[in-house]
Subunit: 201 residues, 2 copies
DNA sequence: AAATGCGCCTACCGATCGGTAGGTTGTGTT
DNA sequence: AACACAACCTACCGATCGGTAGGCGCATTT
């Protein structure tokens, strides 16, 4: 029932890497949060890079769980996509954390890219693409829409909004922000439905 | 005609902060790129924070120049917005650099936010909002669209695409990427025009 | 009872971090 | 000729970085 030290380290690493990035996070910080010495951490993860790699792996798994849940909801590609986008839009700590980690990785990957094997998010992206392609083949979606571009617009809108959240909350009053949040979701749904051949009311 | 050392330092700092972030960049790296000692840099900028602040200031200025150029193109808010989005979409080193710096700042700002004064990008955001509001008042844009949300969708799509560029080029062939790029722009224009009351062909 | 191995520790390493102190140029200004 | 000042420099600081070496306690195995 109680988490192992290793799991706690992994979770805190996820938190800190998402909040301060790879370079901004020291393994000392991570270890201290779990009340373990730095060497206690290095016992479980041979290097900072390996720790980071495992965190990314965990994030990729979380995204694939979203895909799995979407599949269980319906066979309809539109509803599946909608489910995933809704899950990603949830403004909860743990949910946002994955998105921030992803954005950090996109920015940093430029340097790490060569050393990295197959990119950890490719499967997730492929799943989303497949959903759109399926929708098009079933005649539900407009054939003229490029699957990857369509997905990227949605991901961009969602993730950019989430990574701006702290800043937005500072710039605007709570009421203004609430309004923005609602309208953001509404616009997102409009964008999603634009791909439909026969819009559902 | 020739750039001062100070300007060269500022430019290289911009490059490195955009590429590796605040924590991932050392003032030593910046100085070395300009063939100056670290203390040479510290002579011009009293601290790393001050250097970073000046870089941000420069980025904010570049964005405001975009607004200025858009204003000179036309009085029509739609054409103004279109101009800005096109300028931001340019896939050029210097152009992308500003976007990456902005995204980094959004992610890191959470920690620096309290200490930061008025956020350096607020004016730019306000300008964009004003353009949409003007368009609505002139009857060109749909009144039902929330200005900030509308802008954020556009910024999100553009910036997320740009920060993914290196990764995308790795994941897909040059041909696939070219296709994605074209469709990305097409979708962006569709999204922009959705706000129009009377779509222009 | 001896041996093994996991989990975690203290102690320490060289490298690098941002930053300070103080000196040395060269280039006007007076 | 004397001075002032900007534009650098070398030398150095304490702190922190990621990582290594080796030891201690405890549970399990043999």
């Amino acid at each position: 029932m109680s988490k192992t030290t290793r799991d706690k380290l992994l979770e805190q690493a996820h938190v800190l890497f998402a909040r301060k990035g790879f370079y901004g996070t020291s393994i000392n910080d991570v270890a201290a949060e779990v009340s373990v010495s730095k060497q206690g951490l290095l016992h479980h993860f041979p290097s900072k890079e390996k720790l980071y790699a495992e965190v990314l792996k965990g994030a990729a798994d979380q995204l694939m769980v979203m895909v799995e849940q979407a599949r269980q909801i319906s066979d309809n590609p539109q509803l599946q996509l909608q489910s995933i986008m809704q899950q990603m839009s949830r403004e909860e700590e743990e949910s946002i954390r994955v998105i921030l980690l992803l954005c950090r990785e996109l920015l940093d990957n430029r340097d790490r890219a060569e050393t990295a094997q197959q990119w950890f998010l490719k499967p997730f992206l492929t799943e989303l693409e497949t959903m759109v392609i399926n929708g098009q083949q079933q005649g539900l979606f407009d054939d003229g829409v490029h699957p990857l571009s369509y997905i990227y617009q949605l991901l961009g809108a969602i993730q950019y909004y989430l990574m701006s959240l702290p800043t937005l909350q500072q710039l605007y009053t709570a009421k203004q922000h609430k309004e923005h949040q609602q309208q953001h979701i509404r616009l997102l749904e409009l964008t999603m439905q634009r791909v439909l051949v026969d819009p559902v009311s």
